[in-house]
């Protein structure tokens, strides 16, 4: 297939995944900020939402104050934020138009439908209720696209490149949440806040859609190091870094088998996956959770660069 087509599919999938993630981050922030500070502490949830979305600098170039109105607008609807939900859908549809022929009609319907629906929201939701509906709808639109791809695409390179986009983006998103909240996840003996953080931990789980899974996996109350374990090392958990890398390795293997040749992408993905498989939470904590996550984000970006150079240029 054309390199440009593969590139478009890859980024299309990334943008749809990112829109979903941003909606979850905003939902979680809204929930926390609505709780009395006696339960969640005095931290500014909106500021950490901006950090989790990875656009702190761009935000403060446009606003002075990280409050609900500003952050919601910036992450969801702002035209100045290249990664706002609106721009994600916009770019996704532009990419989709450019690769119409590589999409199934169900995928096109999902994207085009989302884009048409987005026009109805004009400059953004007009009330909190409207905003909740909007965020819910964004997740539905993203799921619909993902489901359409899963159900209707031929299992060929088009599909594999779009899956690579999903999992690179998802791994990055999960790592970013951990990076912003890592101080909340350190083992109990190192913590000072104690019970105050319970709702923060549960918000993290919520933003990766894992609050129920957690209980099924650990059958325990929420404990910070188990939250970290779930999001980093547990391959059963679809948004964990380990699960993303299981998928990345698999899809890269499909491509290398179909093309009869492997390269730097396959090697790097396998190395990152092996590192995750060989890690234990205790070691990660002792050598520094923050450093571990920062390294992971850099590795994940490097893999994105390898994929681009190997296939997409």
């Amino acid at each position: 297939m054309l390199s440009r087509t593969a590139d478009n599919l890859y980024w299309l999938a990334r943008y749809m995944e990112r829109a979903d993630y941003l909606a979850r981050v905003l939902q979680a922030a809204q929930r926390l900020s609505a709780m009395p500070s006696a339960y969640v502490g005095a931290s500014n949830e909106w500021e950490s939402a901006v950090a989790t979305a990875g656009c702190t600098r761009a935000f403060y170039e446009n606003y002075e104050d990280a409050n609900e109105t500003n952050v919601t607008h910036f992450l969801a609807f702002s035209a100045d934020n290249p990664s706002s939900i609106r721009n994600c859908f916009q770019v996704a549809r532009t990419n989709a138009r450019a690769v119409r022929i590589a999409l199934t009609s169900a995928m096109w319907d999902a994207i085009n439908g989302a884009w048409l629906e987005l026009q109805r929201y004009g400059n953004g939701p007009t009330s909190r209720e409207d905003n909740s509906r909007f965020l819910r709808w964004v997740q539905d639109a993203s799921s619909l696209f993902d489901g359409a791809a899963y159900r209707t695409m031929l299992r060929s390179d088009s599909y594999w490149f779009s899956r690579l986009g999903v999992h690179i983006e998802r791994a990055d998103n999960t790592a970013r949440i951990l990076d912003v909240k890592y101080h909340l996840l350190l083992p109990a003996q190192e913590r000072v806040g104690g019970a105050l953080d319970y709702f923060q931990w549960s918000a993290i789980l919520r933003s990766v859609n894992a609050q129920t899974s957690y209980h099924w996996v650990y059958r325990e109350n929420i404990k910070p190091w188990l939250v970290a374990d779930l999001l980093i090392l547990n391959e059963q958990m679809p948004r964990s870094m380990a699960a993303c890398y299981a998928n990345l390795v698999q899809n890269l293997d499909h491509i290398s088998m179909a093309y009869g040749r492997a390269g730097p992408s396959q090697r790097r993905a396998r190395a990152i996956r092996t590192r995750l498989q060989n890690s234990r939470m205790e070691e990660i904590f002792s050598s520094g959770l923050h450093e571990f996550i920062v390294d992971f984000i850099a590795d994940n970006n490097a893999l994105g660069g390898d994929i681009t150079r190997q296939y997409l240029l």
Partner: protein, 472 residues
């Protein structure tokens, strides 16, 4: 202006035989049903993403072309006449272009004035003496035809560069079949859905001789901001070929390759929907970001076929058009089956004098214009516009031709208060390959939706209709 020919109704208010069943069906329809179907059709078009861009309208880059749900019907006998005329015309056009870039017999014979060729911006000196596979230059043509009475069809315009609209022909039929299954079951409508297969066969048949058994064909688009982008992606999809932009291709050692995820892959035939000017920044416009550097050198080396060939524009401007009957006679020794609209060439002083004296009755067109832009329709224009054209004609007579205002035939069309006649034209698509000339029955009917209007161009408020050729 004589009254327009009504394709549906005979003089006595009785429908012609081909339209009888449609008339029955329209009579049976509950009130508002047509309106309901129209809304449904619009919904389906919007879902499919079939849109076009209107240049100069920044706020609405994507619009639907209005679709009229009442089909236009041609009998098999009418179509056969048109088809034979098209085959004849395309043979003449190809012979003419070959001659212009070859021996130039027609210039020596004094049939076409030299300056019309050598001062024509569409003339490509690079093509002189250049061989093209099987001497075919125009593989895909859109010949615009209007009808003025029961058996007179005029060619209004030859489009021999990158004619568009065929996606509407195909989509109109798809949507009609979804919405009007009953109506189809009552008629024997010749199918058009084989067009993509015919197009692919045509393109493969003109691959370079050096290409292998199964040549690689691609469609080259200027990109998503082009007004016909939907059509480009639609056709690439139906043909099962890659839709490429200039940056997807590169030239090495005189061979064209596309960049794929498996590495470079050689390209044999390029169905290009980019104008000559933008094909290759090294050969033509250096500021073109749409083209492929070195493409012309690969083409001249015979390693890739461009479809249509470079320089076919010398056959389709409106000044050349006026010579078509003589051109056809010169190469084929035949009388044209499809007539030309009588045309005054303002370059000739006596023609110009006539045109200036009769401006209120004539249609005046720019020689190099297209899309219904820059034209004067004398009978409906206000005085100021006529005066402005008079000044332009005096200043640059060579740039204009004039024609009588034709009473384009009308077809029943869905309007606000029911069904009423509206003026139509027809663009059939003519495919010319090594082995055959292929024309799917019918083509794209364009309709002027405004009462009395003669302008059918989509950029000027025209719509489209499904076109049925009835097998008897």
């Amino acid at each position: 202006m004589p009254p327009a020919f009504d394709e549906m109704m005979a003089q006595d208010g009785v429908p012609r035989p081909a339209y009888a069943e449609l008339q029955n069906w329209l009579n049976e329809l509950p009130p508002n049903e047509l309106e309901r179907r129209r809304t449904e059709a619009e919904f389906l078009f919007r879902r499919s993403g079939i849109t076009f861009a209107v240049y100069g309208e920044a706020e609405s880059t994507e619009r639907l072309i209005p679709f009229d749900v009442v089909p236009r019907i041609l009998t098999r006998a009418e179509w056969d006449l048109v088809r034979r005329g098209l085959e004849q015309r395309i043979r003449a056009l190809n012979a003419y272009i070959k001659d212009i870039y070859g021996k130039r017999d027609i210039l020596r014979a004094g049939i076409v004035p030299e300056d019309l060729i050598f001062q024509n911006p569409a003339f490509r000196p690079e093509m002189s003496g250049q061989q093209v596979p099987h001497d075919i230059y125009v593989h895909i043509a859109g010949i615009d035809i209007v009808r003025v009475d029961s058996d007179t069809f005029y060619v209004l315009e030859d489009n021999t560069r990158t004619p568009s609209g065929v996606s509407y022909m195909l989509e109109n039929r798809e949507i009609m079949m979804r919405l009007f299954a009953e109506l189809f079951s009552r008629h024997r409508v010749a199918p058009v859905e084989n067009y993509p297969d015919e197009l692919l066969a045509t393109l493969k048949s003109v691959a370079p001789q050096t290409a292998n058994q199964d040549p690689t064909v691609v469609l080259l688009t200027p990109g998503i901001y082009n007004s016909a982008y939907f059509e480009h992606s639609f056709l690439a999809d139906k043909l099962g070929i890659e839709l490429v932009e200039g940056r997807d291709l590169f030239v090495r050692d005189g061979v064209v390759f596309m960049r794929t995820t498996r590495g470079p892959r050689q390209v044999d035939v390029i169905y290009r929907r980019i104008d000559d000017d933008f094909l290759d920044p090294l050969a033509f416009r250096p500021d073109s970001a749409l083209g492929v550097p070195g493409l012309m050198s690969a083409y001249q080396a015979g390693n890739v076929t461009l479809s249509n060939a470079v320089g076919t524009g010398v056959a389709d401007d409106k000044a050349v058009y006026s010579y078509m009957p003589a051109i056809l006679q010169f190469y084929l020794g035949e009388e044209p089956i499809l007539k030309n609209v009588p045309t005054w060439r303002c370059r000739e002083p006596d023609h110009l004098a006539y045109v200036l004296d009769n401006l209120e009755q004539l249609v005046v067109k720019e020689v190099h214009g297209s899309g219904g832009y820059g034209m004067l329709i004398g009978p409906t224009a206000d005085r100021a516009t006529v005066a402005a054209f008079r000044a332009k004609l005096r200043a640059q007579p060579k740039n204009f031709i004039a024609q009588p205002t034709l009473a384009l035939s009308t077809c029943p069309t869905s309007v606000a208060d029911g069904v009423a006649p509206r003026h139509v034209d027809l663009r059939p698509f003519v495919l010319t390959g090594r082995d055959a000339i292929r024309i799917v029955p019918g083509g794209l009917t364009r309709v002027a939706l405004q009462e009395g209007s003669l302008v059918v161009n989509s950029s000027q408020g025209g719509g489209t209709k499904d076109t049925w050729v009835l097998d008897s």
